[in-house]
Amino acid sequence: MALVLNEEQQFLQDTAREFLKTNAPVEALRTLRDERNKTGYDSALWQQMAELGWASIILPEEYGGLDFGFLGLGVVMEEAGRTLTASPLFASAVVGASAILLGGTPSQKETLLPAIAAGETTLALALEEHNRHKPHSIATTAETTDDGYVLNGRKTFVLDGHSANQILVVARSAGDTGDSAGLSLFLVSGDAPGIQRQRTLMADSRNAANITLDNVAVGPEALVGEAGQGWSVLEPVLDRGRVAMAAEMMGIALECFERTVAYLKEREQFGALIGSFQALQHRAAFMQTQLELARSVVLQALSAVDETPEQLPLLASLAKARLNDLAQLVTNEAVQMHGGIGVTDEMEIGFFLKRARVAMQVFGDTSFHKDRYATLCGY
C-alpha cells in the first residue's frame, strides 16, 4: 500500500496540473455551458488528453496503455477535479475501459481498448434506472433470440451517454428486479436502431443522458462477460469508478478549500481580515483535518485497485462515503465564507458546489455506502 506518491506520480501530477490549468480551467467549463456545447466537452482537448496518455492510464501496455495504475489515474482525476474539467475521462477511460478490461472477450479487448486508449472511441455505462443508486435494481430486459438478444428498458443518469460511441447497457437476462444474479452487460452502438438518447443538462453543466432502449437487437458478440453473470464484472467496475470519483472529489474539495482560505486572507469586514476571526478559523481548520483523513482513504483505495482488489469493496465504499461528506462540507462552507459573492454566477465557487452535488450521487451517496460498509463488516 502506497500512501506517498513516488517520483513518477509526482511528475505526472505536476504535468497534469500545469496542462489543465492552462488548457481546461473552470473558465472553459463556463464557456461550454454558455455556448450550450453539443458534446458537453471539448473534443480537441480530449484528443490532447489522450495524447498525454490519460485515456489509457490504467490500461496495460499490450493495449497501447500507459499502465500507470490507479494511483496514476487518481493523480489525474484529482487535478481534473481542481479545474472541473469536462471530459470522458471518467465515463470512458475509467468505467468503460475497466468493464472491457475485466469482462471483455479477447476480441473485444483487442478492438476496443486501443481505440479507447487513443481517445477515438468513448464508452458510457447505462446502469441506473432510479433517481438513487440501486445497482442491481434493474428492470431493463435482455431476451434471447436466435440472433442474439433484444434489449428493452429505460436508463437514466448515463454520464456522457449522449455523446458516447458505445453504450454499455446493464440488462436483466434472468431473475427478479433487485437480484444481483441474472444481470448481463451488453455493448451497444450509440446509434443502434431502437436507441433514443435524450441529452440532459445537469447542475454541473455536464451531461448525463436519459436513454430508452426499444427492441434494440444485438448479436451474441455484444455480450461483455458471461450471460447472467454481469454482476461479477459490474461490481468491481463500479468500485473502480467510485475510487476514481473519490479522487476527483479530493481535487474539488482541495481547490475549493484553497480558494476559500485565500479569500479569508483578503476579504475585510468590521475593519479586519475575516480570516482573523476565530469562528471562521476553527471551521477552516476543521476542514483541514477532514482533508487529511480523506487524503489517506483515497490513497489507500486507489492502491487497493492494483494491489489488494479483495479489499476494494470495503475501501471503495469508505472512500466514496468520506469524500461525499468532505465535498459537501467544503463546498457548503466555501459558499458561506465567500458571503454574498459566493452565490453569484460570476464567482467560480458555485461551479464547485454544483459539481460536488452531482459527484456525490455518482455510483452511490453516503447512505448507500454506509449501508454497504456496515454490511461488509457484518453488522
Binding site: L3, V4, V261, L264, K265, A272, L273, G275, S276, F277, Q278, Q281, H282, A284, A285, F286, Q288, T289, E292, L293, A294, R295, S296, V297, L299, Q300, L318, A321, R322, K370, D371, Y373, A374, T375, C377, G378, Y379
Partner: protein
C-alpha cells in the same frame, strides 16, 4: 535511493523482523504477554518496585537489548535504530501482546526534547537515567490561571547569581506525587513579551520547598496533581536551551505530547472494548443487521473515522520516512482524541444501562472500564492543548490565516 537500494533495505528490514520475533520469543516471559492493568504499569523512578519478578526480568532484558528507546543514539543508552526498525519492534511486540516494560513521559516527551535542545552534560546526566528507569519525570507546564493560554504562565525563576529561585505553582502535573524530577516552564523575564520571557528548567523534586497534592477527576482517578514551589533553589546548569528561549523547547515537546495523545488507546492499560464487537454482544440484530438503524449508522461513522485516523497515522510515518512534509501530523491530536471521545459515547449508547456501572456487583470489568475511559476521554480533548487550541494551531501554522 535506487530501486536496488530500496529492495535491499526491504530485505534487511524483513531479516530484522525475524530477529526481533525470535528475540521476543526467547526473552519475553509468558506472564508479560497479557493485557496490562493500570496497577501493573511500571514507570520506574527512585522508589519504584516492579509489580512482579517477571516484570523485572522482562524490563532488564529489554533495557539491555537497547529497545527501551530504540531510535535514540547508542552513546546515551539508546538502540541507535532507524524509525522503520523501531516500528517493527512495536509491531512484533503487539503481535504477541507483549507488555511495554517501562512507561513514562521521560521516554515520550523529555528525552526527545533533551536530545534536541539539551547540552552534552544534560544528556549525559539524564538520558540514560530515563532509559534505565531510574528517574521518573513529571511535566510542569500548565498553571491554575493559565489553562490553554500557556504563555501567560506566572511561576517565576529569579536569577540569584549561582542559582534560580523558583516560586509559584504548576497544575495537571501528571503523577507528580510519584515523580523524582519535574521539567518546568518558568518566567525568567517578567518584562518581556509573553513568550519571550520563559525558560525551561529541570528541577529535582527532592529539593526543599516543593509540595504536591493529587486532584480527583470525574473518572474517579487522580493521576493529575498540583505542585507548589516555595523558594526552591535550582542550580543554573539545569536550564535547558538559552535563557528566555524556553518557548521553543516547550513547543517541540508539545509536538511529542500531541503525537502521543493522538495515538491514545493503542497502548491502553484498560480493557479496550471495540465498538463493533460490543454491538454484537449488546445489540439486537435483524436479518444480519443491527436492528437500531441510528446506532448502526453511528457505528459505521465511527468505524470509518477510525479507519481514516489509523491510516493517516500510518501515512504520517510513511511521509516522515520519505522526507515528505504535510499537514497530517498537525491534525492528529485533534482527530485522535475527538475520535476517542466519539468512541466512548458510542460504547455507552451500545451498552445502555450496562455501560453505566461505576463499580462493584452487576457489571463486568470491561463495562466498568468503558465507563471510566468515557470519563477520561474528556480529559484527552483538553490536556496537551484543547481541541480548540489544536484548531488555532492549524489555522495559524498550516493555513497561515491572519492572527487577530
Amino acid at each position: 535511493m535506487t530501486a536496488a537500494d530500496r529492495s535491499s533495505t526491504v530485505q534487511d528490514l524483513e531479516q530484522f523482523r525475524l530477529d526481533v520475533r525470535q528475540w521476543l520469543e526467547d526473552n519475553c516471559p509468558e506472564s508479560q504477554r497479557q493485557p496490562i492493568t493500570p496497577e501493573e504499569q511500571y514507570f520506574g523512578g527512585r522508589n519504584a518496585t516492579f509489580p512482579s519478578e517477571d516484570a523485572r526480568i522482562w524490563f532488564e532484558r529489554f533495557r539491555d537489548k537497547g529497545w527501551v528507546c530504540p531510535e535514540w543514539p547508542t552513546e546515551y543508552g539508546g538502540g541507535g535504530l532507524s524509525p522503520q526498525q523501531g516500528k517493527v519492534i512495536k509491531e512484533e511486540m503487539k503481535a504477541i501482546r507483549a507488555r511495554t516494560p517501562l512507561y513514562g513521559i521521560g521516554i515520550w516527551m523529555l528525552g526527545p526534547a533533551l536530545l534536541e535542545f539539551g547540552n552534552e552534560a544534560q544528556k549525559q546526566q539524564h538520558i540514560r537515567d530515563i532509559i534505565d528507569g531510574k528517574v521518573r519525570w513529571a511535566q510542569g507546564y500548565s498553571e491554575p490561571g493559565s489553562g490553554s493560554d500557556l504563555a501567560s504562565l506566572q511561576c517565576k525563576a529569579e536569577d540569584m547569581g549561582d542559582h534560580f529561585l523558583v516560586n509559584g505553582s504548576k497544575i495537571w502535573t501528571t503523577a507528580a506525587d510519584k515523580c523524582d524530577w519535574i521539567f518546568c516552564l518558568v518566567r525568567t523575564d517578567p518584562d518581556a513579551k509573553k513568550q519571550e520571557g520563559i525558560s525551561f528548567l529541570l528541577i529535582d523534586m527532592d529539593d526543599p520547598g516543593i509540595t504536591t497534592t493529587p486532584i480527583e477527576l470525574i473518572s474517579g482517578e487522580s493521576e493529575f496533581c498540583q505542585t507548589f514551589f516555595d523558594n526552591v533553589r535550582v542550580p543554573k546548569e539545569n536550564l535547558v536551551g538559552e535563557l528566555n528561549a524556553g518557548w521553543s523547547v516547550a513547543k517541540a515537546l508539545l509536538v511529542h505530547e500531541r503525537k502521543l495523545m493522538s495515538e491514545i488507546g493503542s497502548d491502553s492499560p484498560r480493557e479496550v472494548v471495540v465498538p463493533n464487537q460490543a454491538a454484537r454482544q449488546y445489540l439486537e440484530f435483524e436479518d444480519g443487521k443491527i436492528a437500531d438503524a441510528e446506532l448502526r449508522s453511528r457505528l459505521v461513522d465511527y468505524d470509518m473515522e477510525m479507519h481514516a485516523v489509523g491510516l493517516t497515522h500510518f501515512r504520517t510515518f510513511e511521509e516522515k520516512v520519505a522526507g515528505v512534509r504535510s499537514a497530517a501530523p498537525l491534525v492528529m491530536k485533534y482527530v485522535g482524541t475527538e475520535a476517542e471521545k466519539q468512541k466512548s459515547e458510542l460504547l455507552l449508547a451500545i451498552m445502555g444501562s450496562q455501560g453505566l456501572g461505576w463499580e462493584g456487583e452487576g457489571f463486568n470489568r470491561a463495562e466498568i472500564d468503558t465507563l471510566r475511559l468515557w470519563a477520561m476521554s474528556y480529559a484527552m480533548t483538553i490536556a496537551g492543548g484543547t481541541s480548540e487550541v489544536q484548531l488555532n494551531v492549524i489555522a495559524k501554522n498550516v493555513l497561515e490565516l491572519p492572527q487577530g
